[in-house]
Every structure is written in C-alpha cells, then in structure tokens.
Amino acid sequence: MSAPARFLAFRRPDGRVGVRNHVLVVPTVICSAVVAERIAAAIAPVGTALPHLAGCGQLGPDMTVTHDTLAAYCRHPNVGAVIVVALGCEQVVAQRLADEARRHDKPAAIVAIQAEGGTVRATARGIDVARQMAATVADAERVWCDVESLVVSVKCGGSDYTSGLASNPAVGRVADRLVDDGGAVVLGEIAEIMGAEHLLAARASTPATATRLLRVITRVEAEAIALGLDIRGTQPAPGNIRGGLTTIEEKSLGAVHKAGERTPLADVVGYAAPITTRGLTVMDTPGLDVEAVTGMVGGGAQVVLFTTGLGTPTGNPIAPVVKITGNRRTAETMADNIDVDVSGIIAEGETIDRAADRLFGEMLEVCSGRPTVAERLGHREFAIYRRNPTF
C-alpha cells in the first residue's frame, strides 16, 4: 500500500470530485415530496429524490437549517443536475435552490405544482425535464482522482461491543491514512462524543478549536438536562445496552475510534455546513443515524463509512454508505445490509491494519462506482435535523 491511492470519479467545474452522478429531485416542502419521488423514479437509479418533512411551518434557526441543507445537496459534487419541485406557497424558496446548483455549474430547473396545475401535470412536466437532464449528465465521464479530493463521513449505528473493539478502530486507521494522504474526515453525533471529548480536544490543532468542540458538547448536554430527562432513555439505546454497552461514556469512547487515533482535530462546524479543512472536522449533528448522515453528506462528504454491530439498513439519496461490521453473527444474519465484514479482528486475529487496508480498497471501489448494498436495495434515507416545534 505505497503508491498514492486513486479512484475513478467525476471532476466538477467547481474543482470538487463526485463519486456519483445523480439527477437530484428536491421537494422544497413536504407537500411536494410525492411528486418529487415520482419524477425521480421515472429516471431511477440516476434520479434520486430528497423527500423530507420540513420546508414550511418553521421559524428561525430551524428554517435556516432546512434551507441550508437542501442548498447543500443542490451543490454537492455527487449531483450532476437538479430539479426543484415546489408547491408554490411554502417558505423554502425554490429559486434559491436552483440558483445554488447553477452557481456550481449544474443544470437546474423548477417545476411548481400550483403553477403547472396539479399533481398530474407537474409530474408529467417534471418527468420530461428529468429525461433531458438524465441524458445531459450521462455525458460526464469518470477520470482518475486522488484521495486528497475525498471528504469521508465516519458514522456508527446499532453499536455493540464489537464496534469499539473492531469496526471503529479499522475505520479509524482508514481515517488516519486518508488524512495522511491529504483527505478530509468528518465525525458527527455530538451526543456520542460525550465522555470521550478529552481525547479529541487533546488532538485539536489550536486551543480555540478545542474550546469550540467543548462548547458544542456542553450545549447538547445542557439541552438534555434542560428537558429534565435522563439521556439514558436513548443514549445508549436499548439495543446498545443489550449488546453490552452500559453508559454513553462507554459508547462514546468506542465511537470516537472511528475518527482515527492521531488525525488532528482541524475544525468544528454547524449542521450541513461546508467542510473546508483537510484533516478531521467535527460536525454538530444529533446521534440519530439518518439525521447525522444527512448533515455530513450535506457538508460535502462524498462517501460514508458506517460501522454497525447489530446491523442497520441506512443509506443516503446521493452518497454511497458502506456498511462495516465487526460482529460475525450480524455479518451472517444481516448479510444483505453489510458490505465489509471485519469480524476476523475479534475471531481469527486478522490485524486491524490488514482489515483497514481491505476497507480502504473497498472504499475506493465504491468511489469508482461499485454500488453499495444500501444502494442496491434502494435505501435512500434522508432527514433534516429539527430542534424546534412546527408552527
């Protein structure tokens, strides 16, 4: 493993690299989600929709997060063209999303249900536009790209005792190697850093970065305390506890292994905010898998390395999610949801380094176009972080 690792992907006009080439169909609001899904389905699997529950009835920071997250997907390098499906009376501004795509030299169009005259006409018009866009993006060709162009999201879900012993350390070695080669890694799930923040703070590139990490963790912990509730109702989750994890501190200490052992903590950013620094970035996301992955991909991650002890199907509409388990039983019983089995680290003495080499190679294959099991099964979960009530 000495030559610089490369993979075949799409070099975008803005200089970023996409590992997929989707026509993204974005509903501005929950009310246009079904039309958006029908348009995307007509050009599947190139077409992919972002059905969501938000876009109206939201105030302040919640509305901003919705707008910013949808805009982030419109400019994402895994997207070749964008169709915005509006209703017509909602808060999210369709024009702003289309403009964001065009600013990154992507073709973009708007289809508005009220203006078109209902579901049937809007769907038919959207499918016409989608077919043209599918033909346009098909002209793009994959070229050799260096791993320094990658932003890799690391995530764990359905954790058990094998996550901290095998799969997270293996992903951590991949993260360290990627950063050595000039790439970027993003870690989310603030609630699952709680109890292990001292390890990340010690690796912060500046004291100010360490302070920002500790501040966001303090805020999330204060939010749980302000509710007057015990975070143990969800952290660890009931299945985590059955799997042998006792406290959030234990879960966190196992979880942060996936961010590497030595990569400096370079930045701390808000939900779905652009990841602009090489090295390790921590993003302010909740622990809930789909909201966390949605945010990190929004930040620019092109691929997700997702460890699971118990097994989970989570995918993403535009980024491949590679599932890795250290639990032999899960690799067998949940085989259709697992891409990479690293249970040999526990059972047969495969070293963590060898497992990490294998995983790095698998990641590059996926970046070069090989579908993950989640993509083959059509798992495209998407959910925007919500912190306030709906009005």
């Binding site: 058990d160 005792y161 094998t162 901290g164 012993l165 609630a191 709680m194 109890g195 292990a196 001292h198 390890l199 912990e221 749980a224 305390i225 302000a226 509710l227 007057g228 509730l229 015990d230 975070i231 143990r232 952290q235 506890i241 799997g243 042998g244 006792t246 406290t247 959030i248 501190e249 234990e250 200490l253 196992g254 526990i346 059972a347 047969e348 003495g349």
Partner: protein
C-alpha cells in the same frame, strides 16, 4: 482466542468475547478470574474489586461510576454502573448522586 479482552492496562473491566458461566475461571493475562455471575457475550466482567463511588475504567478512561460494590468476577452493567452525563433527571430532582 481469549475468552475476555482487556483493552488498556488501566482498565478494571474486561469484555467477554463469549458467554461466560458463573463458577468457571478465565485467564486475564497472567492472572485468573473466577466468574461469579453469568456474563453474556459482549458484556463486561470486573477484573479488580471496584468500590461504590469508584470509576469504572474501560479503554483507559472512566465509563461511569460504580453505584454498588462490585467484586472481582461480577457482571458490570447498568445495574451497578451510573453514567454522569446528560442526567436531566438528576438535575430536575436536585439529587447529587445516582439513586439506588
């Protein structure tokens, strides 16, 4: 394959890599530990006596506080370990310590 794994030399618990029966003995490095509770696969076993109020240590860091005295060989889990983080329930009650 070891039947239980200690991650850091500072740890006072080991992780069972298979289900351990009470009454059996396992080797932990050079020492042997008599298993006093049934330990499900993936769960933790005390490899040193842990007093109530002491830190329970795994990965070389505290994962919580013992809420009862835990003898060597006992099952270490939610029944005898308390987390100190995100405890709004305690803040609401104004209680300083884990209730028993």
């Amino acid at each position: 394959m070891n039947r239980a794994l200690v991650i850091s030399a500072r740890d006072n618990v080991a992780t069972a890599l298979e289900a351990l029966d009470a009454g059996t003995t396992i080797r932990i490095g050079d020492a042997s530990v008599a298993v006093v509770d049934p330990i499900p696969r993936g769960h933790k076993i005390a490899i040193r006596a842990i007093h109530a109020g002491d830190a329970v240590v795994k990965y070389g860091s505290a994962i919580g506080t013992a809420s009862a005295d835990i003898p060597v060989g006992a099952h270490v889990h939610v029944h005898n370990v308390a987390s100190g983080r995100g405890r709004g329930d305690l803040a609401a009650r104004g209680a300083p310590d884990e209730p028993r």
